[in-house]
């Protein structure tokens, strides 16, 4: 199942593997409010109402339990809190689920049966699940389905968030999270911190820091006044861009380290030109399957641009801490020293094996193709996996007479995020930004294909050409975030965020479309 993922366009080479499986008889279901190119390959497309993913997952679980298709042995052996989950999903009968999700009852039954009965089944998701105000509930609902059917911790079965950036996995793994040290070790654990203190000769702050959303809140309250932005373009990538830019402008000091003169860099007090990590620097990145692979310098960086490690070293020195002269491999070896799950991954082994999947605790370990196999061990090694019952909560911004259309956002095949990387090459497929509407809405608004319209939300307004897309149902409109210089779509999006993950609800804003 691809859930809130248009992998055909956003993860094309992963989708090659999906297609190989489909050609061998695997059954593909795609859950997406839009009929995407991925949905066209599915034997079942579930045109879910935007934001009704929890309801759908609970409804599928209801069918599985009603028909006795759950993996009773696995539930008894390896999970906890099942009774509460069972009680919750009892309230998501077919009629109610169908009403909440706008999906036919027969389709919900089909998916439930196929998923539960499959020898191996996998749920892969992307931002369609996580860019919601209840993102964590969405993810937990999918995990619940995996636990219910025993589709976790086995080769070919599992839960897989497809990572959207080449090293977003590696960033988290190596401690670029406010509450974690490298290897997902808790920063508030005194014993763990002591190891870092000893190696570095400095005290690691004992309390967790802020994630991105909290940092903007801290700027709002004047608690955060100086910011280093490294390879990110928040002035264009954040939801509710007006607020974001106001807060960045209000900083006492903004330092940007990037390879592009981004909109954010233009606001900075100082810009430090870095290197393109994939081809002007040495290092590693970690992909969606936790595979650590080497990136290598293949061209020289231009002008005065410097390697990012060198810049950080110089900054650190000015701040009073001498990092010495680390190169990429030395920095990696220090990470391996402190992070047990990376311990066995020397550069030599990564090269020899063509990448290694963590955890890899020692140099004899081959790496781990899948996680959570411990849940099948007898007795279970470590804690049981808990069910986390979650209720359906619709998007923060409800539709009304003033803003009657649901705006959802996403990527297109040849472009990427705010376009700073992908905007420069000569793609013959690059289309200008449009607002895509269902043919019915085009008719209702009296619009011709390509006609410029004004799109208005509670936070801002943009102008864009309208385009009819038969893959959208009435009431749903779609835009990308690829061309902020042309159409600044994040003026429209809502920064309602999930309190636990801090992710904004890019997938569900309320808008109206005005004829010009």
């Amino acid at each position: 199942m691809l859930w809130g993922s248009n992998a055909r366009e956003t993860h094309p080479i992963f989708f090659h593997h999906v297609l190989k499986a489909v050609r061998k008889g695997a059954r593909l279901y795609v859950v997406d409010p839009r009929r995407t190119p991925s949905a066209e390959w599915a034997e079942g497309w579930l045109q879910v109402e935007v934001g009704a993913d929890v309801a759908l997952a609970n409804g599928i679980a209801h069918v599985i339990l009603a028909e006795g298709l759950e993996h009773r042995e696995f539930i008894d052996h390896a999970t906890e809190n099942f009774a509460a989950y069972r009680e919750l999903v009892q309230r998501y009968d077919l009629a109610r689920t169908s009403r909440l999700t706008c999906i036919a009852q027969e389709m919900i039954q089909r998916v439930a049966r196929d998923f539960a009965k499959a020898e191996r089944a996998m749920i892969c998701w992307t931002l369609g699940i996580t860019e919601h105000h209840n993102a964590v509930d969405n993810v937990l609902s999918l995990i619940n389905l995996g636990l219910l059917t025993g589709h976790v911790g086995r080769w070919g079965s599992g839960l897989n968030p497809l990572r959207g950036q080449n090293n977003v996995q590696g960033g988290g793994d190596s401690g670029a999270l406010p509450h974690k040290l490298p290897g997902f070790q808790d920063v508030e654990d005194d014993a763990i911190r002591a190891r870092y203190d000893a190696l570095w000769g400095r005290k690691v702050p004992p309390k967790k820091g802020w994630h991105l959303t909290e940092m903007f809140e801290a700027m709002e309250h004047g608690q955060l006044t100086a910011l280093l932005v490294l390879g990110e373009n928040p002035a264009q990538s954040e939801a509710d861009a007006t607020r974001c830019r106001r807060l960045l402008e209000g900083l006492e000091f903004l330092l940007v380290q990037d390879i592009f003169r981004t909109r954010t860099a233009e606001m900075a007090d100082v810009v430090l030109p870095g290197s393109a990590s994939f081809c002007e620097a040495e290092g590693t990145v970690t992909n969606s399957e936790r595979r650590v692979q080497r990136v290598r310098r293949s061209i020289e960086p231009p002008g005065n641009a410097k390697d990012d490690i060198e810049i950080l070293r110089a900054l650190s020195k000015r701040l009073g801490y001498d990092l010495g002269l680390p190169n990429a491999e030395a920095a990696w070896d220090e990470l391996r020293l402190l992070s047990p799950m990376h311990h066995g991954m020397s550069y030599a082994r990564i090269e020899a094996l063509g990448g290694i999947q963590w955890p890899c605790p020692d140099e004899a370990h081959p790496g781990s193709p899948f996680l959570h196999g411990r849940l099948w061990e007898r007795p279970v090694r470590g804690a049981r996996a808990g069910f986390h019952p979650a209720e359906d909560v619709p998007p923060v911004e409800q539709l009304d007479d003033e803003f009657p259309l649901r705006l959802t956002t996403g990527r297109r095949l040849d472009s990427y995020n705010t376009g700073v990387q992908s905007g420069g090459y000569a793609s013959p497929r690059r289309a200008k930004e449009t607002i895509d509407l269902s043919p019915a809405d085009m008719r209702a608004l009296g619009l011709a294909d390509g006609e410029r319209v004004r799109v208005v939300s509670r936070r801002g307004a943009v102008e864009a050409p309208a385009r009819a897309d038969r893959g959208l149902k009435q009431g749903l409109v779609f835009m990308t975030l690829h061309f902020p210089e042309q159409v600044d779509v994040n003026l429209l999006t809502i920064d309602a965020t999930d309190p636990r993950s801090g992710t904004a609800e890019f997938k569900a804003a309320a808008v109206r479309v005005e004829k010009l």
Partner: protein
């Protein structure tokens, strides 16, 4: 747990050998380090056995068999360099060499020498067909040639986008591009073989230019082309001006800067400029295939400005 794989015993060039059940004769030869030439075969594509350069002699078989796709069977006796095989390969090389520009197919020249092939004996090349003529040809509607020239597929290069060019006078119809665009990898089906006999050619639907076709510009066709008929625009431009210089080039493997799939990129660089991006056919993530962003979306490191 699967059963242990069964092995099969056969004889190749007088040597007894064992291969796993399901292996092809080509794989059996490779395991013995016996060199069998191929054009249309690739490790990451299903064999279509159209080029016939890999044929070998199988005792008891009426015809020569294509090593790339013939499965090994117990007791087979195979000869890879018999007189019959050599004559057949010579014929294939002469027919290909006289009708197609094979100058960029890496092994063609050495194979022609090895098998004493002389494509030039069919006479000088017929002039290049004007643009559009081969696309409009119909089977059975040809006038008889004067016999003084070698019939060939030459026509002007198709340049209809800034990412890659199609120079079909170098096309030997090996089908690799069709397979890579089709079920073997991309499943986009933007191209297929059109026409019959000598008019057969690789075509988009109704011969539309690529930007108007179903093409998604993954360049996986370019990645598998063995003759240089499909070529990166950057490479083609350098070759046009005589600046292409492999002695100044270096290939470095790295990982794509876009999504989280982790595709390995082999970056070929000349004078600090990226001139070609491919992926190794044996990489577990890509099997040699990339998408438009990975293969072409790197100009930002060379100062490509957002448009």
């Amino acid at each position: 747990m699967s059963d242990a794989q069964r092995t099969i015993e056969l004889e190749i060039d007088g040597r007894k050998t064992q291969v796993p059940e399901g292996a092809t004769l080509l794989q059996a030869c490779q395991a013995l380090s016996i060199d069998v030439p191929t054009f249309c075969w690739a490790a990451n594509l299903t064999p279509v056995n159209v080029c016939r350069i890999c044929v070998v002699e199988l005792e008891g078989a009426r015809t020569l068999v294509p090593a790339c796709s013939r499965k090994a069977e117990a007791g087979m006796v195979v000869k890879t360099e018999s007189e019959r095989v050599k004559l057949s390969r010579k014929l294939v090389l002469e027919l290909l060499g006289s009708s197609v520009d094979m100058s960029l197919a890496p092994e063609f020249r050495s194979l022609a020498t090895k098998y004493d092939a002389h494509p030039e004996r069919f006479g000088p090349r017929a002039p290049r067909a004007p643009s559009g003529e081969r696309e409009s040809a119909h089977a059975g509607h040809h006038h008889v040639d004067d016999g003084a020239h070698a019939a060939n597929v030459a026509q002007p290069m198709k340049v209809d986008n800034d990412l890659f060019v199609r120079d079909y006078e170098k096309c030997m119809l090996c089908y690799k591009c069709v397979e890579a665009c089709g079920t073997d990898a991309q499943n986009t089906f933007a191209i297929a073989i059109a026409g019959r006999g000598f008019d057969a050619r690789i075509a988009t639907e109704l011969e539309t230019p690529l930007p108007d076709s179903a093409c998604v510009f993954c360049g996986n066709c370019v990645g598998v082309c063995p003759t240089g008929a499909l070529m990166f625009k950057a490479e083609s431009d350098l070759r046009d001006t005589g600046a292409w210089d492999e002695s100044k080039q270096k290939v470095t493997d790295t990982i794509c800067p876009y999504c989280g799939v982790g595709c390995q990129l082999s970056m070929r660089v000349q004078d600090n400029k990226i001139v070609r991006v491919t992926s190794p056919a044996d990489h577990s993530v890509t099997a040699g295939h990339l998408c438009i962003k990975g293969r072409f979306g790197w100009s930002f490191v060379e100062g490509g400005k957002p448009k």
